[in-house]
Point group: C2
Chain length 202, copies 2
Amino acid sequence: MNISDKVINRLTLYHCILTDFIEKNIEYISSKQIAGLLHMDDSQVRKDLNLLNNSGKSRIGYIVKELKISIEKTLGFKKTKKALIVGAGNLGTAIANYGNFTDYGLQILAIFDNDKEKIGKVINGIKIQNIETLKQSVKKGEADIAILTVPAKFAQSTADYLIESGIKYIWNFAPKVLSVPDDVQVWNENLMGNFLQFTCNI
Amino acid sequence: MNISDKVINRLTLYHCILTDFIEKNIEYISSKQIAGLLHMDDSQVRKDLNLLNNSGKSRIGYIVKELKISIEKTLGFKKTKKALIVGAGNLGTAIANYGNFTDYGLQILAIFDNDKEKIGKVINGIKIQNIETLKQSVKKGEADIAILTVPAKFAQSTADYLIESGIKYIWNFAPKVLSVPDDVQVWNENLMGNFLQFTCNI
């Protein structure tokens, strides 16, 4: 199924709400409740949820647990993707600690850095390894996604090294446009672009 | 001017490229060069740049410095927005260190936390202050945007406190849908949604 970026974004937010409801032992949820929490239109929520292959709808609302599973199936949470974090600074550490990535099918196997002070430490159960061993890790087929969290000035040289090591997908958190060959995909986590989207009307 | 989110996103990436070119003392840039770096279609770049009120186009390409200024004018970088970071953990620290926010019109005035060990420390020139003093800061009209970087489990209670203190806009980095009154706007930095958008086709 081809789902637009905006719908994917909203479905993950609905999923977040459903997780909260399950924690609170609430069995049913209405499209109005979801719409209310996100300050959006009820009809939009219903339209999004109609895209799912979801049968758990009753007179008193959607069955929370079933709706959650439907979103997971649609967005492919079960198809686990394995990634390596490159850069064990604050941002890399924050992402390693982010917590609920695993629920969404993202498994972080290791964190790499070149700082000897950091190598060997463990963040949220994930070990910081010497960046020089990254190539072996990729060769073993452990992961081909790198989450790049080094400072902007090291982003290109680190990306070059990642690509040389066999990385095919880079989720780039550095505010830097990377130059990469055609067979490598870069996803820019463009924080400043997001901020401007949010604030352009205030 | 009404510019779509996708265009804003791309314009900030072009801006990033132009900043690099200026550092390298390159005077001209073509839409092809930009398209090449972002692995996108040349005609899309031209279409986006045509939205700008940009006159710096010559036979050999766009004048880098003028194009950069045109993007800044269009996206309102000069209209500085002031924000407070709430949560001086790894994520808050990473954002305080992110560096180039100021270039894009986002000024971070202070970081707030409740951890006595952290209060008084300085990150990238920004002082960590006691969260109890946040209300005064908002009252003085210093900022009404909060960048929320606390762990998910404290996100709602912290948001409640921010709203009580007069914050009107929350840029929420916690993977948690916040319940807020109608006059408060929440921008969810939905990292997992972004990841799923990127990876849905791999």
